[in-house]
């Protein structure tokens, strides 16, 4: 009975959705309302208004800069929530994920990871720095660094990993995304525009025209570093067990 009701409900929902889809404007029609108002402005003006070749980056970081700033804050909030539930590791203590099965990780996998981590990090740096002219950007690059940190931690153990990426490195960088975004935004105000207008102060802007692009790149770097470190910290929170194995003087 319950299943039947659920089935009926889903069927009704599907019919409704199909009806709505059937009445949508045709895909890719240049007369669509989405294509007639904002998009021409983006496509025509993005390059000179935002100084980015990749229009998507221009939209994300410049036209919709406030949205992205909010999203960056959401990432930061996720870390805050994880820390609130699981607790931050205390200063000066080293925690470990205790592997009770006593199985050491495979030599082959370890050698391979050691070999590949530089390449993965280099690729993510490329993704971050080329965000303004090709697909990619801070979020994606940060996620790739986070992935390399995940594989590093699972293979070498939390002890090694948290020793080599210590809290005093992670802590300032976790806020990097929000901080850099805010600083660049304020720089725009100093330069005489509004918040997040990506403008240097007049004296600096006169040095070289390409400097303006670097503000976008700076934000990308901030997002990348911040995202990577937030992912790493959340991972450390999740796999840590409450066993302190050493106290660092």
């Amino acid at each position: 009975m319950k299943n039947l009701l659920a089935l009926l409900f889903i069927a009704a929902l599907a019919a409704l959705l199909l009806y709505v889809v059937a009445n949508m404007p045709p895909m890719g029609d240049p007369e669509n309302p989405t294509a007639t108002h904002v998009i021409p402005r983006y496509l025509e003006g993005a390059e000179e208004e935002t100084h980015t070749v990749n229009v998507i980056t221009g939209i994300i970081l410049n036209y919709r800069g406030y949205d992205t700033m909010g999203e960056v804050t959401v990432i930061f909030t996720a870390l805050a929530a994880a820390l609130a539930v699981l607790g931050r590791e205390r200063r000066g203590r080293i925690y470990a994920y205790v592997d009770r099965s006593g199985v050491p990780s495979s030599v082959i996998v370890r050698t391979m990871v050691r070999f590949l981590v530089p390449l993965i990090v280099l690729f993510s740096v490329y993704t971050i720095l080329h965000g303004e002219i090709s697909p990619g950007g801070g979020f994606q690059g940060g996620a790739i660094i986070g992935g390399s940190m995940i594989v590093f931690t699972t293979i070498f153990g939390l002890y090694e990993s948290s020793r080599r990426i210590p809290q005093k490195v992670r802590f300032p960088l976790e806020g990097a995304a929000v901080m850099v975004f805010f600083l660049v935004g304020v720089l725009g105000m100093v330069g005489g525009g509004d918040f997040l207008t990506y403008a240097w102060p007049k004296a600096a802007a006169a040095l070289h025209p390409a400097l303006v692009t670097w503000l976008t790149v700076l934000v990308e770097i901030g997002i990348g570093l911040g995202g990577a470190m937030v992912l790493t910290s959340i991972l450390f929170c999740m796999i840590r067990e409450e066993e302190e194995i050493a106290v660092v003087a």
Binding site: S101, L116, F123, T127, P135, I150, T154
Partner: protein
């Protein structure tokens, strides 16, 4: 001409991947599932490479590279988890 050919190849590989999902869904052991997911990932990677040349957009190759990296990370991390954890098998 070449594009149509590549599209057909990509379609065959996609169908192939769907068949491999059987192994990922049925198992019977967790390692079988990981293997199935790995293979589906390899096929998706090749489809991305083919799409690069069907659409002649070279930036898709970056996507393929990222996909390969993530495939490696996922498989290695999950296998490590499976071999190390005091974890009961649900066959």
């Amino acid at each position: 001409m070449m594009d149509d050919f590549l599209t057909v190849i990509a379609l065959i590989i996609s169908l192939n991947a769907v068949i491999c999902l059987y192994r990922a869904a049925v198992g019977p052991t967790t390692q079988d599932r990981v293997l199935g997911v790995n293979i589906v990932g390899t096929k998706a990677l090749v489809v991305v490479v083919l799409v690069t040349f069907i659409q002649t957009e070279s930036f898709f190759l970056d996507v393929a590279l990222v996909y390969a990296l993530l495939l490696f990370v996922v498989t290695v991390a999950v296998s490590r988890y499976l071999e190390a954890e005091g974890w009961k098998e649900v066959a």
